[in-house]
């Protein structure tokens, strides 16, 4: 009764692959896991890429200007739209990068997300104001139309007013060199 390597009964043809199946399936899982390690599990790609920027008309930041920021401002030129808030610590880290871009002539607009206007104004007075237009989104509704799920986020808009890229989190100098500058250069052509 003990089952040694029993060759008494001829093995039926075609069964061998069944025993290979587990290791093959596992290999597939291993490949998925290895590739999965490469990606950032927490970054959500935007579904708005290559789609027109959503409609919005946001009131101005009192004390800064009185024009506000609307969808129409996005037509005709390549621009960045930055979602920021004075209470957001990474925004402070990112701010010098935006200022540098503005100095280089890149148009940078901003949506001020769920902020107290006085705090937002103080933020810009202290750290500098690189923004062409600033719109106040106190309820965060415009940001939801943009598919924003955290601050800061930065969108690249082309001349036709389409969203071409979204950066999640603060723009680090290396993001600038690797992705943003080449993209801006391409869109400017």
């Amino acid at each position: 009764m003990s089952a040694r390597l029993d060759t008494g009964r001829p093995q039926r043809l075609g069964r061998g692959w069944l025993y290979l199946l587990p290791v093959l399936l596992f290999a597939a899982i291993g490949v998925v896991l290895a590739l999965g390690l490469e990606r950032d599990a927490r970054t959500l790609p935007s579904v708005l890429i290559d789609k027109p920027a959503p409609e919005f008309a946001l009131p101005p930041l009192p004390g800064r200007d009185d024009r506000g920021f609307t969808r129409a401002d996005l037509n005709g030129q390549v621009a960045l739209v930055n979602i920021f808030a004075s209470w957001c610590v990474p925004c402070r880290i990112e701010h010098p990068v935006l200022e540098q871009l503005a100095r280089e002539g890149v148009v940078v607009h901003a949506i001020n997300y769920k902020d107290d206007p006085r705090d937002a104004l103080a933020f810009l007075r202290t750290l500098g104001d690189p923004f062409a237009r600033v719109g106040m989104d106190r309820e965060g509704r415009a940001a939801i139309d943009w598919g924003v799920y955290g601050v800061p986020e930065t969108f690249v808009i082309d001349r036709e007013g389409r969203i071409r890229y979204r950066h999640v989190g603060p723009i680090q100098p290396r993001d600038l060199e690797r992705t943003l500058r080449p993209l801006l250069a391409k869109l400017a052509q």
Partner: protein, 161 residues
């Protein structure tokens, strides 16, 4: 809404999962039927900034905003499908905890039943291969009956019925 991962100087903290259910009394709709629909829908929508919570369970400000949008749209007469479409247009299918059936999810939805069916087919071939040899069956039964008798004499308390 500040992304926690950017601030985690300590790399090995467990992520916070305190305070899950937070649909507050101030958010609820007066109409109990609409409110029930809002709750049910909220359980199918993912809180994007949390890890794996529905907006109904999450304390995050974005989840609160989305709960409010769900309720506003329900009050305005929108259907569940319309509200889902509204959110998918902004956040992608990631926002749906129940992935819709589409070419990308055919395997996901069919998978369990395909696997069960494949398993059943395997079981069937196995059992058939083992039960269609009457001559072998009787032979082995005799041999095993002996073994069984020996077992019983050994008093091992095994069931024999």
């Amino acid at each position: 809404m500040i992304r926690a991962r950017l601030l985690l100087a300590v790399p090995l903290l467990l992520l916070a999962l305190s305070a899950r259910a937070v649909t507050g009394p101030d958010e609820m709709l007066a109409d109990p039927e609409l409110e029930a629909r809002a709750r049910a829908l909220g359980k199918e929508l993912r809180c994007l900034v949390c890890q794996n919570q529905s907006i109904d369970d999450s304390d995050a400000p974005l989840a609160r905003d989305l709960r409010r949008i769900v309720r506003e749209q329900l009050v305005a007469g929108a259907s569940e499908a319309e509200i889902k479409r509204f959110l998918v247009e902004r956040y992608g299918e990631f926002v749906l905890l129940k992935p819709p059936v589409s070419p990308a999810t055919w395997l996901l939805w069919a998978g369990p039943f395909l696997m069960a069916a494949a398993g059943a087919a395997l079981v069937w071939t196995f059992v058939r291969a083992r039960s269609v040899r009457p001559e072998e069956v009787t032979e082995l039964t005799a041999e095993e009956r002996q073994a069984l008798e020996r077992l019983l004499e050994g008093g091992s308390g095994e069931r024999t019925r």
